[in-house]
Symmetry: C2
Subunit: 194 residues, 2 copies
Amino acid sequence: MSTTSTPSANRDKVLATALILFTRKGYFNTSMRDITRESGVSTGSIYHYFRDKEGVALALYQSLIARMQEEFSAIMRRHDSTHDQCRAVVALLFRITESEPEVMTFMLYVKHREFLPEERPVCSSAPFEQMRAMVQRGMERGEIVHCDVLVASTCLFGGAIRMITSRLDGIVEQPLAHYLDDVWACSWRAVAAN
Amino acid sequence: MSTTSTPSANRDKVLATALILFTRKGYFNTSMRDITRESGVSTGSIYHYFRDKEGVALALYQSLIARMQEEFSAIMRRHDSTHDQCRAVVALLFRITESEPEVMTFMLYVKHREFLPEERPVCSSAPFEQMRAMVQRGMERGEIVHCDVLVASTCLFGGAIRMITSRLDGIVEQPLAHYLDDVWACSWRAVAAN
DNA sequence: GTCTATACGACGATAGAC
DNA sequence: GTCTATCGTCGTATAGAC
């Protein structure tokens, strides 16, 4: 019932392989030959589903952004206060970082601009706009100090996001769940009203 | 009086050109041909000074890290309290971001690991260790809440660093100086004792 | 839709004269 | 130290059979 009638196992296999290789070795260090070898799908088939190498990266990027957007929307429905919404976002990001590090790496850490020059930068993508919207709402409700929304949202999530990239870099030893309470305490204190 | 007797104008020209091109188009989108064309230095000369393309990137990376390290050391000498030291660091980073965006881009934003696999990630480089040392000291003095040093330093600087990357991405409209007071207020509140 | 074989261009790096 | 000319490799993408 999706727009493309046959989702095709091969197409998915290519995307899954690309996610692993792009995050492990980088986009430019991954050749189409690598993808054919690791996925077991032939060159011809790959070019049947995707225009070119960039097309593979684009499809991957958009599918991950869309997934994030849905998860964030679910959080916004599930929680009332800005405090609870934002904490749930951080908890979700921490959880994904541990269970699917490649997903997080590709979202936050891969320099899409170098191979997807047409695409908007991640930080202006839908999920990041949802994060800013939550903060905006919190300001209107008086939960968050009144100041520039961009500043507040950057400071609120900046620590957590840097914690994630540090973890992905191997600087942080323990699973992120171990730090969640402390990080959130600092983050919320940075912007909480009163 | 440096280790290499002749610093050579050509060598510097190559490094300056590489900084511009690597940050503007990315390392992999920049060919040695681009560097020869833009710098006006011939292929032969470049390979006289550097082992290979990676050698150019490495020399550039190390010179920028060294410069940062010196500037941070000067800050640590000039200020006493952790509060003042850390605020000076943020102010410095904001200033460099505006006056030499390529330097900041190359330091924070270029994925060195993809083309300098042997090098330690930026976050474990000397300047970042200096930042953690400042926080550690602040904790011992009672200026900063007692908690995991990594968490505190990540939360203290995370907002500012994300502000910088947002600015480099074009998300932030105003020069960073405009946000310095607000950002620092949030950042310090996140970790300040009492 | 899937495959193999291959064309073609671009790149990094070298050789060797000056 | 600097240059030009060139080599060999590799990677993307296509052609065309099944």
